[in-house]
């Protein structure tokens, strides 16, 4: 099963990757976009309903939005590096990320692009993801960090965290596929619905003019290809969770879904960048036990045979 030989290093790599992706997202996010929208449009979602309504004009002020961005930056950098009080930083970061993502969704409606990585981040906040793969500072200086906190007694935690993170990531795909069948039935694959989605996403004014999705109207082979791919992609979405179980199925799934994401970007101007970036870290076994050359691997080999297979 995927991640059954994971180590603290494996989980640490995921931690660094996830928080780096958030960092990139935050740096690209122009806070000014939100301040240009009227506060009356905002309808708090879910946990954000706990915030008193009188606070929202303050929240959507430029000063607050910039402060929120700076605080998040201040949290994400040590989380990437694995420094500082990890549990405090990660839980705070999750709360603020939920808050930040809730602001745009409360204004403009729920979109899904950042939700999978948000769920993975929640798993990281529940796990000791800074026990390894941490920046220790320059050797010999007072800035040098502690020795690795990786603990062979916590291997179950590292492995469970990675498996659960991958499971929640794949469940978001399964949710999309299952809903498509329950809401629309199999007929949706035969009535040209996907073509109409491509056309409207391409024709509706956005940053790109006349997106590639309009090509389905003038290229019958492309229209046929998209309609044939629609049920295949839906099936792959529904069967996402079993990627944890079989390597060959996982590879096939990655190819189908990666192609789907790239085509969605080109033809519908919808790009799940975070999901694509997460794939190599969730769907591949990094630093498994038996292949790690650090001191932890030597400790692991006391429990595992030299070939990395568990003994006893």
């Amino acid at each position: 099963m995927l991640h059954e030989r994971a180590t603290a290093q494996s989980l640490g790599i995921l931690r660094a990757a996830v928080y780096t992706i958030w960092l990139g997202d935050l740096l690209r996010e122009p806070i000014t976009d939100l301040k240009n929208l009227p506060v009356w449009m905002f309808e708090p979602l879910g946990v954000l309903k706990l915030v008193p309504s009188m606070a929202w004009p303050v929240v959507f002020s430029p000063l607050f939005l910039i402060a929120l961005k700076l605080v998040l930056l201040g949290l994400l950098v040590p989380l990437v590096l694995g420094r500082g009080p990890y549990r405090l930083l990660s839980v705070t970061a999750v709360c603020l990320l939920i808050f930040w993502q809730g602001l745009t969704r409360g204004m403009l409606g729920v979109v899904h692009r950042e939700m999978a990585i948000l769920y993975v981040t929640m798993v990281l906040a529940l796990s000791p993801a800074a026990d390894a793969f941490v920046w220790r500072g320059r050797p010999g200086t007072k800035d040098a960090g502690d020795r690795s906190r990786a603990d062979t007694a916590k291997l179950d935690v590292y492995r469970a965290a990675l498996m659960i993170a991958t499971l929640v990531y794949t469940l978001t795909y399964a949710a999309v596929g299952v809903r498509r069948l329950t809401a629309a039935g199999p007929g949706i694959f035969f009535d040209g619905t996907i073509l109409r989605y491509l056309v409207i996403r391409s024709a509706e004014p956005g940053w790109w003019a006349d997106g590639a999705g309009l090509q389905v109207l003038t290229h019958p082979w492309l229209s046929w290809l998209v309609q044939a791919a629609f049920p295949v992609v839906t099936l792959a979405e529904i069967l996402a969770p079993p990627v944890l179980l079989d390597r060959r199925f996982r590879l096939a799934w990655i190819v189908i879904i990666a192609v789907f994401h790239v085509m969605s970007w080109g033809m519908m101007q919808i790009f799940f960048l975070q999901n694509i970036l997460l794939m190599p870290f969730l769907l591949h076994e990094w630093a498994p036990a038996g292949h790690d050359k650090t001191r932890l691997a030597e400790a692991n080999r006391a429990s595992y045979g030299a070939d990395g297979v568990e003994v006893g």
Binding site: E4, E43, L108, M122, M163, L167, A175, A183, I188, P205
Partner: protein, 171 residues
């Protein structure tokens, strides 16, 4: 019926994965609070989906993508600004924003197609007041909302789009 199918689908998928020995063994080795929290997180995703009320369950939202069976003609809206000197110019609303432009346009479409256009009017008025698009230097006095329809049939091109004035919003 849909709920039954949902429960069966998610139940099958979760049982398939959660009953695997490596995962069971890893979960068994956790502190009970951590095990409960992780499993609660796993269940929250499909439960949020099945409740299907994101406004209450956020961050565990409903996931519905490409589920509406659409009519054969697709319709979207474009906007133009009319200035005080009577000059009309196209108004690319999405360009008023760095990253949220497409979502704002999508929101405007939903508001335009709602039972009442009051919220669409309020948002358009707000955006027009902040718009920097009026190159003539004259303030905008009205927004024209154009309905654009394109039939999704083989051979259709963007030139087949019919564009009609849906309404005029006086600012």
């Amino acid at each position: 019926m849909a709920l039954v199918f949902d429960v069966l689908a998610y139940g099958t998928l979760l049982l398939l994965v959660l009953t695997r020995r490596p995962l069971r063994a890893a979960l068994a080795g956790l502190e009970s609070w951590r095990r409960v929290a992780l499993l609660a997180l796993v269940l929250a995703v499909p439960v949020g989906q099945m409740i299907h009320k994101s406004e209450w369950t956020y961050p565990f939202v409903a996931w519905a993508m490409y589920t509406d069976r659409r009519p054969a003609n697709v319709t979207w809206y474009e906007y133009s600004l009319v200035t005080s000197d009577g000059v009309e110019q196209p108004w690319p609303v999405a360009h008023e924003f760095s990253r949220l432009g497409k979502r704002v346009v999508w929101k405007l479409r939903l508001l335009e197609e709602a039972a009442s256009t009051e919220q669409a009017d309020r948002l358009l008025s707000h955006l027009a007041a902040r718009s920097q698009v009026t190159h003539s230097g004259q303030p905008a006095t009205a927004v024209r909302i154009w309905s654009c329809t394109l039939p999704v049939i083989p051979g259709a091109t963007p030139a087949a789009t019919t564009r009609t004035l849906r309404r005029t919003l006086v600012l």
